[in-house]
Symmetry: C2
Subunit: 414 residues, 2 copies
C-alpha cells in the first residue's frame, strides 16, 4: 500500500525549518508496510494546498498532511479543509476543555485566538493532541483518508502514535512489516556489504536487508516482504541469528540503539558508576550520556582537560608521560581513564585524547587520530583510531567509540 | 522569481535520511531573491523523475535537483537526464583527472564503477565538485535551467557556491535581496512581535521583518523587497539601527550568530581564558564551545559535577552552602563559577545548576528551573531561569543563556 505526505508552510520553503517530520513519518509508515510514493512541500496558499491534495488523492488512498494549524492568520489549512470537504465548523468540547487546562496550568490567559483552536471542520473526526494546542484531524470520504496534523514534531508524533496509526491499522487492515534490527560500529558500509554478500544471497525469498548508516554506526534491518507467510517469524529469527554471528566483530547490540544507551542499560543492571575524562571530545562524552533520562545514579561527572596542564592539574596525569609520548598518546589516554576513576571514585571510566581538527595534525598523528581508553576497576583497555570527516563528525565518532569500548569491557565481565 | 526543488532517492521516502538540503537551498536562494514555489521528493524511478521535471518546468524556469548520482545501480538520475534531454554521453576529462587524484590521495584503487562518474550527459555543462566524486550538471534548454547535484549536503553546497549561484546570478540577472540580521535570546516570539508592532508599521514600503526562532534564540531579519530602489541600503541601515535599539534588552549580537560564537570572538579579542563548571548542562557548555574551530587558546576545560559531592570534591564548593540552599540554588551556582576560575586558573567562567527533567522537579523548583552564573575576574553575576520543553531543549536553552550572561559581563568591561 502507498501513501503520500504534504507539508504545508512558507517556513519550509524559505529554509527556516528543516523538515524532520517526513523522515519520521516515512520510517514509521514503512514499519506498517506502507510506502511513501511521493512527498511535497507547499506554501500557506489555498490554491497550492488544494492542488496538492487533488494530485495526491489521484495516486493514493492515504495522505498525511502536516503544518498550517497554528492560531495565527498565516495558518489557513483548517479553512482550506472546510472548503475542500464542503463542510461547516464545529467546536470540539473535549479539545476546548483541554485548551482551558493547558493555559490554566501555565498561568496564561486564553485569548479568543487560542479558543479558535477548538473549532474544527465538521467533516473530520478529532485526533487528540495532549502535547500542544492544535488537534489532529481525520477525514474519510470516497474511500480516501486524509490526516491533518500540526507541524511541531513531538505533537505530530503524539497524534500519530495515539490516534493516527491505530486508526490506519484498523481502516486499511495494514500488515506491519516484521523486522529485526541490530547496530554495528566502525566498519565501512561497502566492506560490510561485501562481507555480508553470502548472507544476503541466502536470505529467504522476499526478505530484505537494509543498511541505515549514521556516521560510524550502521543499523542493519532485516524485514520480511510485504506478503506474509505463516513461517516468516521463525525464518526471520533464524536469519537474524545468522546476521548477529556474521557481525559479531563490530556489533554494538542486537537492537536499534547507540553505544551510550547500551552503557546506561549495563550500568543500571550492574549498579556501577561512570566518570569520563575528555580531551578532544571536549565534553561530548558527558553531554551525550547525560542526555539520556534516568542515568543520574550511574554517572558522577567528567573532567574536560582541554588544555594540557589540566590533565596534570585535575587528574594527576604524570607530566613525564606527556613529555615522553605527547598528550595525544596511548599512555596518556590510559592514565586519564585510571586517574578519573580514582579521583571521582567510580567503577569505570572512558577517556579520549586526539586531534579533532581542522588544524593540529602532523604526519605521524594526522587530524582524526584519537586514542580512546576504557577502564573497569583496575583493568584498562585502549585503542588508537583514525576517524575521517569534519571536526564535529570526528568528535561524535570518537564519542560513540568510547562508549563501545567500555561496553565491551562490561560485557566481558558478565 | 520562482524556483522548485526535486529531491531524488528512496532513502528520503522511507525515512532513512532527513532532507537538510532543501532548507539550505531554500534559504540560500531566498537571499538571491528567488523563492521556492514547491518542492517534491520522489523515488529512484525514471517515470517519477520525468513526471516531476515536467510538472516543475510547467510552473518555473529554474529547477534544482539533488540525489541519485552515486556510482551504484540504484542511482539512475544521469540516465534519466540523458533521456530527458535526448542526448548521448561524454567523458569529462577534467572530472576524470580529479577522480584519479581523489583515489590516489586515499590510497584506494579506482574501480570501473568509479570511473563512470566522469561520464556525463552530453547536453550538460559540468559544475565541478572538489568535495566528492559526483560532479554537478547544468542544463539550459528552451529558457529553462536544471541543476542536478549529488545529495551529500557538503558536496551539494560546494557545487552551488562555486558553480551554481555564480551562474544563476549571471543567467537570471537575479538581484540578491539585501538584508540585515540580529539575534536575540529569552524573549517569546509573540511578546517580541507585540513589542515591535510600532517598529514594523513604520518600515519603508516593501521592507519585511522575518522571525527565525530556534529554541530560545530568535534571528530577526529585515530585508528590502524584491524591487530595488536607489536608497534602499541607507534606509535598511536606518531601520536596522532602530531595530537594534528596540531589541537592546535581549540582543545577543547585531548579526546572525549564537552566544558561544560571540564568546569565542570576545575572548580571542581580549586574550582571555574560559573554564566551565556544569551540573544540569552535563558537559554541553564545554561541548558547544569546543565545537567551534580555533578556540583552543581561549578554553582550558570543564568540571562536570553531575553528582552533588563532586561539587565539593573537584571544585571545593562549601558543603554548608549546598546544605543550606540546596545544590540547585543561586549561592551554589556562584560558588561553582568562582571556584572553577580559581581551580583552572582562568579569567572567566560559566556555571549551571538546575533540573533538566523529566523527573526531579518540586513545587518550589519545578523541572526547567536553572541557576546560571558567569564570573569575570572576581566579579560574579547570576540569574534564576525557568525553561520549558524537553530535557535536551532545557539543556540547550541553559547553555546558550550561560554564554549570553558571560558575554554581557565581558561587554560591560569594554
Amino acid at each position: 500500500m502507498f501513501a503520500e505526505i504534504i507539508t504545508v508552510g512558507d517556513e519550509l520553503l524559505i529554509g527556516q525549518t528543516v523538515d524532520t517530520n517526513s523522515a519520521w513519518l516515512g520510517s514509521a509508515l514503512n514499519q506498517h508496510g506502507i510506502r511513501i510514493k511521493k512527498r511535497c512541500a507547499v506554501a500557506d496558499d489555498a490554491h497550492e494546498i488544494r492542488q496538492a491534495l487533488d494530485a495526491a488523492f489521484a495516486r493514493v488512498d492515504l495522505v498525511l498532511m502536516t503544518g498550517g494549524l497554528g492560531p495565527t492568520k498565516d495558518d489557513i489549512t483548517k479553512k482550506v479543509l472546510c472548503d475542500y470537504y464542503a463542510c461547516g465548523e464545529r467546536e470540539d468540547t473535549e479539545v476546548l476543555a483541554l485548551l482551558e487546562r493547558y493555559f490554566r496550568d501555565r498561568g496564561r490567559v486564553m485569548l479568543e485566538i487560542n479558543r479558535g483552536q477548538a473549532v474544527l471542520p465538521a467533516a473530520c473526526e478529532t485526533l487528540m493532541n495532549l502535547r500542544g494546542t492544535a488537534p489532529g484531524m481525520w477525514f474519510d470520504r470516497d474511500g480516501k483518508v486524509l490526516i491533518s496534523m500540526p507541524g511541531v514534531p513531538y505533537e505530530m508524533q503524539y497524534i500519530m502514535e495515539h490516534g493516527g496509526f491505530p486508526r490506519i491499522r484498523e481502516r486499511f487492515r495494514s500488515t506491519p512489516v516484521t523486522h529485526r534490527t541490530l547496530t554495528v560500529i566502525n566498519i565501512a558500509e561497502s566492506l560490510l556489504s561485501k562481507h555480508l554478500e553470502t548472507f544476503e544471497a541466502a536470505l529467504p525469498k522476499g526478505f530484505k536487508l537494509a543498511y541505515l548508516p549514521n556516521l560510524n554506526l550502521i543499523r542493519l534491518r532485516i524485514s520480511t516482504g510485504s506478503e506474509r507467510r505463516a513461517n516468516d517469524e521463525a525464518a526471520l529469527d533464524t536469519a537474524f541469528h545468522a546476521l548477529q554471528e556474521a557481525c559479531r566483530e563490530w556489533m554494538v547490540a542486537a537492537e536499534d540503539t547507540t553505544p551510550p544507551e547500551v552503557t546506561a542499560r549495563l550500568l543500571l543492571q550492574k549498579k556501577l558508576q561512570l566518570a569520563t575524562a575528555e580531551s578532544c571530545t571536549g565534553g561530548n562524552l558527558a553531554h551525550t550520556y547525560t542526555l539520556i533520562p534516568g542515568v543520574s545514579a550511574t554517572y558522577r561527572g567528567s573532567v574536560v582537560a582541554y588544555a594540557n596542564d589540566i590533565k596534570k592539574l585535575l587528574l594527576g596525569v604524570n607530566p613525564a608521560d606527556i613529555e615522553a609520548y605527547g598528550a595525544v598518546s596511548e599512555p596518556v589516554a590510559k592514565a586519564m581513564a585510571l586517574a578519573v576513576c580514582q579521583k571521582l571514585g567510580t567503577d569505570c571510566s572512558i577517556s579520549t585524547t586526539g586531534i579533532a581538527g581542522p588544524d593540529g595534525g602532523t604526519a605521524e598523528k594526522p587530524v582524526g587520530t584519537v586514542f580512546i581508553a576504557a577502564a573497569l576497576n583496575s583493568k584498562v583497555h585502549s585503542e588508537r583510531f583514525r576517524f575521517f570527516g569534519t571536526r564535529d563528525q570526528i568528535i561524535q565518532r570518537s564519542t560513540w567509540t568510547g562508549f563501545h569500548l567500555l561496553n565491551r569491557l562490561l560485557e566481558s565481565e558478565a
